[in-house]
Symmetry: C2
Subunit: 490 residues, 2 copies
Amino acid sequence: MSCDWDSQGRVDGDIDQQEMVPNKKSAVLVDGVVLNGPTTDAKTGEKFVEEACKLIMEEVVLKATDINEKVCEWQPPEQLKKLLDLEVRDTGESHDRLLKLCQDVIRFSVKTNHPRFFNQLYAGLDYYSLAARFMTEALNPSIYTYEVSPVFLLVEEAVLKKMIEFIGWKEGDGIFNPGGSVSNMYAMNLARYKYCPDIKEKGLFGLPRLTLFTSAECHYSMKKAASFLGIGTQNVCFVETDGRGKMIPEELEKQIWQAREEGTTPFLVCATSGTTVLGAFDPLDEIADICERHGLWLHVDASWGGSALMSRKHRRLLHGIHRADSVAWNPHKMLMAGIQCCALLVKDKSDLLKKCYSAKASYLFQQDKFYDVSYDTGDKSIQCSRRPDAFKFWMTWKALGTLGLEERVNRALALSSLREMEEGPEFWEKLHLVAPAIKERMMKKGSLMLGYQPHRGKVNFFRQVVISPQVSREDMDFLLDEIDLLGRDM
Amino acid sequence: MSCDWDSQGRVDGDIDQQEMVPNKKSAVLVDGVVLNGPTTDAKTGEKFVEEACKLIMEEVVLKATDINEKVCEWQPPEQLKKLLDLEVRDTGESHDRLLKLCQDVIRFSVKTNHPRFFNQLYAGLDYYSLAARFMTEALNPSIYTYEVSPVFLLVEEAVLKKMIEFIGWKEGDGIFNPGGSVSNMYAMNLARYKYCPDIKEKGLFGLPRLTLFTSAECHYSMKKAASFLGIGTQNVCFVETDGRGKMIPEELEKQIWQAREEGTTPFLVCATSGTTVLGAFDPLDEIADICERHGLWLHVDASWGGSALMSRKHRRLLHGIHRADSVAWNPHKMLMAGIQCCALLVKDKSDLLKKCYSAKASYLFQQDKFYDVSYDTGDKSIQCSRRPDAFKFWMTWKALGTLGLEERVNRALALSSLREMEEGPEFWEKLHLVAPAIKERMMKKGSLMLGYQPHRGKVNFFRQVVISPQVSREDMDFLLDEIDLLGRDM
């Protein structure tokens, strides 16, 4: 028999399918399957990867900085389904057809690299990170044990060490994980474990209600984490913020006292450095004082604002962060490491991550290995397979140096201050009334992307996120002009 | 002033740094930072990406199938630290230097694509998935809302729908997430929410102890999940298995009765389809009967074995899976989609995922958008940013067709049956005594990688995982010969 893989109606004449059919005389059959020789045609596969790479370079990488390209080519869901051939079938498709599919995927995808993509807390193209990401995709490592992932585990260690320095801790521990939300979950669970290690084995049953405190402007992952970890969203106490969006320390302390009076057990305060909507930085020093007085774990969700630590000019925004017990910091946002690149950093050096998370799987974390098994860091994780996310950030850091990263942060913050200079009452009034309608026109034109939302009873406003070093003053001017233009006839 | 980024001691003569310095006369300065013009030199960056791609093709992709290459070039941690230049510095490094670093990273990384990498539950190189991964890295999407990720959300929907068909459900829901461990957490939390929706808001305080049941051979993530979710590892009841590693249904029912007698509240049974160590498939039909009798959620951890559903010959191993309430299935394992590609699938169609996980962030999931917001599936997730993991699997499925995927599964299973044919008592006895020592020699020689471990009181044995279509009968013979050779003088 020949391999089914050969007879699936592949129509690409370029493929020499014969390469994959073992000589019938020498075929070793078990259970009807030919076992000798590989089944994939490496040459054909390699050629496909090369062609796809060429397409990616031309259509994504080289066009990333071209402001004449659309940010998106908008199609509503039902229409896009018709335009794309989404169905998978019994038989495979030819390489020509697959490349055409790739082209369509690129065409209808949002160009998050575009200088005029201001829609989320990430944007822009970092060439060094991208090269690193191509490399890890090709190598396909999973970083649980040193034997399987020697280089990437050492890189992670080096990057964590350096991030810990920027926080201002003498030592510490940490782990890259799949997102700021998950980092916050890690921290919440660590704080709970520190409060009562028995919870790992016994769970929360029979315990008094645990309560935690965070600002009313915190990321929504705090609620998700509380619900996922069995704490319950009702036990998240939201502390009032000032006009700028910063947690009011006096309100925090008041709420802690109140929670105690109600018979619950406070165990964690989560401050935010760079809130999602207003970009506010909670006053960490005053919050740390309160945590010390009450013996509470201080976690800082610096997923967004942590990168300001790289700037000597702006790191004062996070003054007091060295007093935190844990910090979430996502280099995939302002430092453009590519989604996802998120670290949870922990001050404790008593191996708390390992104690809290270990399950000691005997097939993975054997203790009689021939090397120092302290490098097998996988048991610190809630995951089993884990991606080498530190590596892409490391490559960018290597390429730009700390000073280059600092410059990125400085520029992003300087550009965002421009926006405030140019706003006027008439402009805002217009925006308040028409943001969703302008957004619709913007998407259909594909000229620009930024998000809108209401905020605490106020009507919709646009929330512009400035990250990419490809963004210039000209793009900021364009943004204002374009919004003006899109809304002119309303 | 010129941008700092220009003056960081970059030494690569090829880089025309002048491109990045705006004309001083027209410079717009805010806060000491030049704002007009981009700061990154796109041309130089693009060239770097091109050179890195060339290196990746030559050193990783083209060598992936070459059995004359080493599987790994072993260096102990302290030695490897010296060989790699891990430190990040204030100033950036030249492109030549960065490319040299990339070469070192490749050289000292384990070649998980190598036909003789049998170490983990993933292996081999799929060219179509790899091309898709390069594409998503370049596009850098995050899939929470349709507006930011239209194509990848539709692809996810199409792939989930197809996977649900293979499970045998008429309809269902699902989500790709960062791993089988996280899938199991999702399922545990969903089952708990279904049992008592109040837990989302109130937490587990004051509730009777919830208990769950899984086999003694289950993946270690069940313990991690129970601890993370506040249930506690003590409340995971491990059910005895038979000699082949399959859960004994009678033992399950006995334990459920016993748990009830002890005053705890059973809510979940987790069966395993393809255990991590022995590859055993729990008898799903009999377990489903028990779950029905007791009103318990049935989750099937088919992270490893789910791919057997693609094979008409082997899907009987999962007979009864259509009766599960949720299924974890990782195409990054036997179907080679690349780490990570993991789906949690849910039979319920009452939007349970959304009800259980939503936090309704107003900056992301606005309800007054101009398109059908049911496509904004991000609020079903515990994450905020999320990678488009379905896409790489979709590309492979498109390329090979269902029949091609089936062939992969059939061949992997046929090859693994070879192993059993050739084992003998003397061979095993040797292995039992010397597995860690042989592993050390194997790693240092770099000829082969497979894992070893003890199992339930028995001594260390090698655990060979067969996935890649590049693996042939010759590689299996090589494996036995090589182990024999490595251990000959012991």
